[in-house]
Symmetry: C2
Subunit: 250 residues, 2 copies
């Protein structure tokens, strides 16, 4: 009999942010196929005798080709094994989970998808930045700075008044991102936050206006994983809280 | 001493989709303040002697006023109790968690935010609809059909080629949503999926073109909670899988 492939979201880093379902599947896994974004503390939850296979980016290759990962999942499942394919965040938010699920279904391999806390939701909770807010944002959008060619992507209108834009994997292309958004008409003083290592002990939050993004990332040597959150919600901090406190004291 | 308020995402319905952190906090809670979207099976995980306070919508009142909820959280924490404020999905995606966090901070009450699987991520996993996909969508946006006045909201450009739009709480306003999106230039034949009771045993998935949304919702008597997912990702189903299967068989 063919085993099942479980496409499992590993969440943003902190193992406490795995779902109960994900933790249980990891405990029972016979094979765990994971990429580099998954934290060691999460991998430590896997069954002791599970075979761990990393498909992390290598220095020489950009990454293990997606087709090879799909083939690996199908091959392992056909051995009759329970395969947990562990992906950072959520499998269907910039995780290429769609391609892997399609490959399994096409090969007749049963697949179950287990959602995970995406980096944006984890970073928002960890920093206290509400992605939507009755007074500040009724739209939130997610894009990826390295998903496809940046210049091929159309982000017009995704950021601005009443809208929050979260950019995944945007550290390396930060200067071009700032340029692109300003060319689309976004105000240079639109506030933003860069969140490095969200939901991990080494988390850092940096803030500034859009125009200063390239300098901020360079000066602070921001490294992946990091998210860029752009919009008024990133500026609802001490000033507003102080105002509320004053109100409450009246 | 003042207790802590934990703003906890309860996920999309299935208790297995709670995070480990959320489950542990529920087990230790002294007071649980929850709204109507939280599933009974999730509430059943709370400590036996925890005081359960519902702030669900009542028939007469639209909802317990947000200010009253904020005051309740602060008051309970000031009694020195551990307060779990349980919200459907994720606290910072249309959960008004931002306002509650701000109210706590303004009152000097410590607050911790625990992210949850948002309905969109849960529904995507349960149906196999990838919200982003290398070949079909590099942008995903979330909006709410009843968040503010629908006509006050600007959704232009959020849906279309290469973009996925997820509409929360859009069942009641479905006819106006279809009209609004088509007035913004979206093609009447843009595919969509309506997902009712995502991640619950009674889940239903209905599909059709944008122009047929009002009729679909009316004919099938779709009820809340339901999500509307609009974009090409909702049509990557049997046709593509069949093609992949044919390829694989060669």
């Amino acid at each position: 009999t063919v085993g099942t492939v479980y496409l499992v979201g590993a969440g943003p880093g902190d193992p406490d942010l795995l779902t109960l379902r994900a933790a249980r599947l990891l405990e029972r896994a016979e094979v765990v196929v994971h990429d580099g974004l998954v934290d060691r503390a999460v991998l430590a939850l896997a069954a002791r005798d599970a075979q761990m296979i990393s498909v992390a980016k290598r220095r020489a290759h950009h990454t293990l080709p997606q087709e090879a990962i799909c083939e690996l999942l199908v091959r392992e499942a056909r051995k009759g094994r329970a395969v947990v394919r562990l992906k950072g965040g959520d499998p269907f938010i910039f995780g290429r989970g769609g391609e892997e699920a399609e490959a399994c279904r096409a090969a007749g391999v049963p697949v179950e998808i287990v959602p995970g806390i995406s980096a944006a939701n984890g970073a928002a909770a960890a920093t206290g930045i509400a992605l939507t807010h009755r007074d500040a944002a009724s739209v939130v959008s997610f894009v990826a700075g390295q998903c496809k060619g940046l210049s091929d992507q159309d982000w017009a209108g995704l950021a601005g008044k009443g809208r929050t834009l979260v950019i995944y994997m945007g550290v390396k292309t930060a200067p071009r991102i700032a340029e692109k958004l300003m060319a689309d008409g976004l105000a240079p003083d639109m506030p933003l936050a860069v969140i490095e290592n969200a939901c991990r002990p080494a988390m850092r939050v940096l803030r500034g206006p859009l125009a200063a993004l390239p300098e901020l990332v360079a000066r602070e040597s921001v490294k992946s994983p990091a998210l860029i959150v752009i919009g008024e919600v990133t500026a609802r901090d001490d000033a507003q809280v102080a105002a509320l406190a004053a109100e409450a004291a009246e």
